[in-house]
Symmetry: C2
Subunit: 135 residues, 2 copies
Amino acid sequence: MPTDAIETLLALAQAHATVTRAIEVQGLSFAELRLLLVLRAAQPHGRRPTELAREVLLTPSGVTRALLPLEKRGIVERERDPDDARASQIRLTTAGVTLLDDALIPAGERASKLLRRLSLGQTKQLQRLLEEIGR
Amino acid sequence: MPTDAIETLLALAQAHATVTRAIEVQGLSFAELRLLLVLRAAQPHGRRPTELAREVLLTPSGVTRALLPLEKRGIVERERDPDDARASQIRLTTAGVTLLDDALIPAGERASKLLRRLSLGQTKQLQRLLEEIGR
DNA sequence: GACATGTACTTGACTCATCAAATATCATCC
DNA sequence: GGATGATATTTGATGAGTCAAGTACATGTC
């Protein structure tokens, strides 16, 4: 009785639950991995917390709290903006880059395992379809 | 630099974040909706908490806690199993069925809106691909 | 028929993320 | 050069879920 659209979103939720349970490596959750990958794409300049929030779909306060343990572990660092005292730039530390690279190896393996029933073409197709959701 | 598999899973996480933010209706979160839909499929018999956990990919303790507000609101009810005093059956109340039916209308609309860039065929295809994840 | 082991939950402590409010700073307009 | 309002971020209270341990009952074994 749920519509096709809802059924598809249910499958999405199910898949997401499976993925977050499976991918967790070097003490990094899948959500943290996501954040760090955005930061690596932003090297060497870094990103503002607000931009991070938009890019990983967290609230700004969610970002503040997500960064806390990462800063404490020396994975990311913060530089206050000299021109705007409210703002700061977040970037990966050297150790953070290394850790991320290390983490990506087992993470990639687990990701492949999760998608092992799909061909490469289907995987790309899935990605394209997912990217159409919401806009 | 992340693999194709990881990129696809990132798209999945992004899509999931979009969906959970968008679908919330009659004070029911998307996660609650998911639970109630399983329960509706299980009518009139109901389901054990443990079965629910497996079906929506929560831990048993997550189910206990998810049911608490739903019981309080009279949306689901619990019947102790006379043959096994540890166990119980959870089922939708009449009010719960009504509420769920009401909620599904706007939820369906929002779901369609989220998927509006996909044809019906693509939506079904997306669902099939998602169902292959993890097994 | 008592004991060991297993099953069905529930609870306590904790993490993660949200919302709303607070804080601090910047930008504009007069 | 203040007052007014927007922007960047943090904080307090709270909801949602996890894991590990606890409770209560069932089951199989000798």
